[in-house]
Symmetry: C2
Subunit: 356 residues, 2 copies
């Protein structure tokens, strides 16, 4: 925690200083434009051209297996739950629900993030309790709410029965035990690492100042000046640090969040896993790529619309009341973070059929 | 009932007579081939070149709306149930489950049929209690297990809130109340009517005798001679008549079906709706197109594999014990009924987002 807090604070300080500089600029529109671009370049990064690797090779066979497993629901205990259930291409890699639903309609404790670009985040889940996409994919298998399996052996048996042995053999050539839960994680991780969604904002960061509308640029300026970029920065415009949710007051007073049995009260973020009081109400700052396409918002989905979420965040985190114009401008900027749903992701695979 | 029974009987009689003729043929392989093709042509029909219409126009706007609504889950009471839930492109338009799951994990009473080619059947559902795909789509909305809505008005409000008004206006131009549950049915029906899956067997029926392997042709011959084609005939190789399931003995003695609370005992098919004893254990004969890709089988999914289903059907319906070779040949023929998953169906749409 200490380390990420420090990172947050120094970035926030830089943002505030630069905001002051921006406001002070009195040159013409063109140089304003250049100053904003320079400022943006110092806070954000365009998406990489190719996926980041993590102890794996993104061979076509591995990505194809990962895609099949991502869509595979027969491994779950009710036969209907897969990665795709909460990370649905029709909803930009999320599920449109305040709280996700797991096996047999069980309610999951938090809102689902989009799977797009998530491999680039510092950790997975709102609590950051999964280091990588691979770990997340593996641990979901025996979660009593997500997939509901009782053991990894059970999962491996199911995969073999479904006919996945040749798929794993091709994706992990030469491995004595190619079909394994570890390789389930590696394959799904490989697929998820390909799910990057370049957006108009990336073209802007690369120098094309026409990629953003005048309103989006005004929104970017407001986003920086207000202090949003203190946490929502970097390649994924967030997702790189933890932050307390509810700095100026308890979050539920503003969001309308309710106490939850799973948390024996209000959701205290990372504390739920670490039981360390310093982690109370600390959540991973969500990435904002594709945010306009993935309502509802917050860890418990209490904000139905983006303007509402922007307004609440400024109030709760920065103690600022934004005007309608400021909110509309910021929303316009956030819309420039919307990329295309990756075509290969949107097209469901035909899964192996064991009808014989 | 009487009418369909008569249709069944006369077709069955014709099949038996022709089977006798086929067995009696002693000419060369080529003329055998021609005789089999001629026989097949008299029993089956290739898929039509274009979708069948039913009181609707399949405009691109209507089909696109229908596709969006097919994938739309936010209209259901748990926010996760859509047509696509039971008719999933990853499972050839079915769901791979013995019994489907509805809202909040509720178990539906019967196995889901594939949505492919279903618009060509004489009626929908195992009980035939939905005349058309349009009616099925509408009635699912207020089913307490499927979508769980309490009224059509509630559905229309949800659709308006989700931003579908302009979609309906485009799809049903000039209509005073374009956004309506009736048009929900028409749009989804329009989309489903496009989901036809031509297969090698269609090329065969059109005269390309090489479209089927020697084993598949032997299987077709066995399929006809055994009497399967008595019910499984026509353009959809079934789906055009009702038939008692379990002619030689009670079906559950062979299938392992269990009594179900929903049916206060064993599932009695059409009787459950009509309460007419003549309908007891009468089920719609399922179509066999894509059957190799849509296990498990029977109205309650009790047959896990296709060879098992073929063997049980011959025993239960025709009092015949098939040899392993006969089963393998029939399965080979049934595989020739597998078409491609329609590409447009497999690609999830991006649904309207009301984030503002």
């Amino acid at each position: 925690m200490r380390k990420s807090s420090w990172v947050f604070s120094s970035v926030a300080l830089a943002a505030v200083c630069s905001a002051a500089l921006l406001v002070g600029t009195s040159a013409g529109a063109a140089s304003d434009d250049q100053a904003l671009l320079d400022k943006a370049k110092s806070l954000f990064k365009p998406l990489p051209e190719s996926p980041a690797l993590e102890n794996t090779a993104l061979t076509p066979e591995r990505v194809a297996l990962g895609k099949a497993l991502f869509y595979e629901t027969r491994v779950s205990s009710d036969g209907r739950q897969g990665c795709v259930s909460c990370h649905n291409p029709a909803y930009y890699g999320a599920d449109s629900l305040p709280l996700s639903l797991g096996i047999f309609g069980k309610v999951l404790p938090r809102n689902a993030h989009t799977v797009f670009n998530t491999s680039l985040l510092m950790a997975q889940h709102y609590g950051g309790n999964r280091a990588t996409v691979e770990e997340q994919a593996v641990k979901a298998l025996t979660s009593p709410v997500a997939y509901g399996n009782t053991s990894f052996e059970q999962v491996e048996k199911k995969l073999a029965t479904l006919g996945y042995q040749p798929w794993f053999d091709k994706a992990f050539p030469g491995e004595a035990k190619a079909l394994s839960v570890e390789n389930w994680g590696k394959a799904i991780g490989a697929f998820e690492r390909t799910l990057l969604t370049p957006a108009p904002f990336d073209r802007y960061l690369k120098g094309d100042t026409k990629a953003l509308s005048a309103q989006a640029k005004q929104g970017l300026k407001t986003f920086i000046e207000t202090g949003c970029a203190g946490c929502h920065n970097g390649v994924t415009v967030g997702g790189q640090s933890y932050q307390k949710f509810g700095i100026t007051q308890d979050y539920w007073l503003v969001t309308g969040s309710t106490e939850k049995e799973a948390f024996k009260g209000y959701d205290k973020g990372r504390f739920q896993d670490t039981k360390n009081e310093a982690d109370a109400f600390m959540f991973k700052v969500p990435q904002l790529r594709n945010v306009a396409m993935t309502p509802p918002y917050f860890h418990d989905g209490t904000a139905a619309t983006l303007p509402q979420a922007v307004r609440i965040m400024a109030q709760l985190q920065l103690g600022k009341q934004l005007s309608d114009t400021q909110v509309a401008d910021i929303v316009s900027f956030l819309e420039s973070l919307t990329g295309e749903v990756p075509a290969d992701f949107a097209k469901a695979p035909s899964l192996p059929v064991a009808s014989h």
